[in-house]
């Protein structure tokens, strides 16, 4: 999965790119990964 122009949210908080490798996540965490699509 490309890591450019993508963002990650854990439990509704945006995770800065610099923290992607260091953040700890638990099984119960809600993770969202977003990218961009066509829209108006």
């Amino acid at each position: 999965m490309p890591t450019e122009r993508v963002a990650i949210e854990v439990n509704k908080m945006v995770i800065r790119k610099k923290d992607w490798t260091t953040i700890n996540i638990k099984d119960s965490d809600q993770i969202e990964i977003i990218h961009f699509v066509g829209g108006g």
């Binding site: 963002a7 800065r16 990964i33 699509v37 066509g38």
Partner: protein
């Protein structure tokens, strides 16, 4: 500064644009069609939506089809409350490293009309966080004032519901907004259907137009984009030229004196 005024350039959020047409990226039949339409439109700013990455399949990188010189304007389409819109804006900023955001908070799924109250709430938070907030809202002067007061650099009143293609439904309202907010940047967003709709909006004093469906759902998107480019320019030039007065009765164009009887 004088160059900007002399050449009637469009200044917004610290950037200067030649084009007053902002386009969308939705509903195209293919990425190639979208690309051709974008090029034909002459637009220099393009809006994109945020969505979950499907983890079960490969997705083509949609952003690769956008002209890299264009300003990308992520939007919060699909958000129905301030909290969701704020989160989406923050994600978009993180992903694209841009402070620009088209704020869209919808009130109801059928009409897709904006929830002005939630839009204002989200705009307050986002402007404080340093976003360049371009809020989409219903064409209400009082709401426009509130949005500008809290720091939005422009306001984006709708012409008609999203994707309706009805054109400016309340021209008097738009004209009043322009007159009452002479220094505000007003971008008409949503509801444009044909080039004359875009020209009318510009003639009423809009600073720019944002459209998506009018181009994407036309029979020939590239041609329509080309037409819209001219329509926006024509409307803008007409507005700056200052229209003739409307009259109830005729006023002859040719001299009556000396006419052959």
């Amino acid at each position: 500064m004088t160059e900007i005024i002399k050449n009637d350039l469009f200044e917004l959020g610290g950037k200067v644009f030649n084009s007053r047409l902002i386009i969308g990226t939705g509903k195209y039949r293919s990425f190639e069609e979208m690309q051709n339409a974008h090029k034909a439109s002459g637009a220099e700013m393009v809006t994109v939506a945020v969505n979950r990455v499907p983890l079960d399949r490969k997705v083509e990188s949609f952003l690769d089809y956008l002209d890299p010189d264009m300003q990308i304007l992520p939007n919060t389409a699909g958000c129905y409350d301030a909290e969701h819109a704020i989160r989406t804006a923050r994600l978009a900023r993180e992903a694209l490293e841009t402070d620009w955001i088209k704020l869209e908070v919808i009130g109801d799924q059928t009409t897709l009309l904006p929830d002005n109250e939630q839009t204002l709430e989200a705009a307050k938070v986002l402007t404080e966080e340093g976003f360049i907030v371009l809020p989409y809202f219903s064409d209400d002067l009082i709401m426009a004032k509130k949005l500008l007061d809290i720091g939005c650099p422009a306001v984006m009143p709708l012409a008609a519901p999203i994707g309706s293609g009805l054109g400016v439904q309340n021209p008097a309202n738009l004209k009043i907004m322009r007159e009452q907010l002479p220094d505000a940047i007003i971008i008409v967003d949503a509801g444009v259907g044909v080039p004359s709709d875009a020209a009318i909006a510009m003639e009423l004093g809009a600073d720019a137009i944002l459209m998506n469906t009018a181009i994407a759902e036309s029979a020939n998107a590239e041609q329509m984009a080309h037409a819209m480019k001219f329509a926006v320019r024509a409307g803008r030039l007409g507005f700056r030229a200052g229209r003739m007065p409307k009259r109830l009765y005729a006023s002859a164009s040719s001299p009556i004196e000396g006419a052959i009887k």
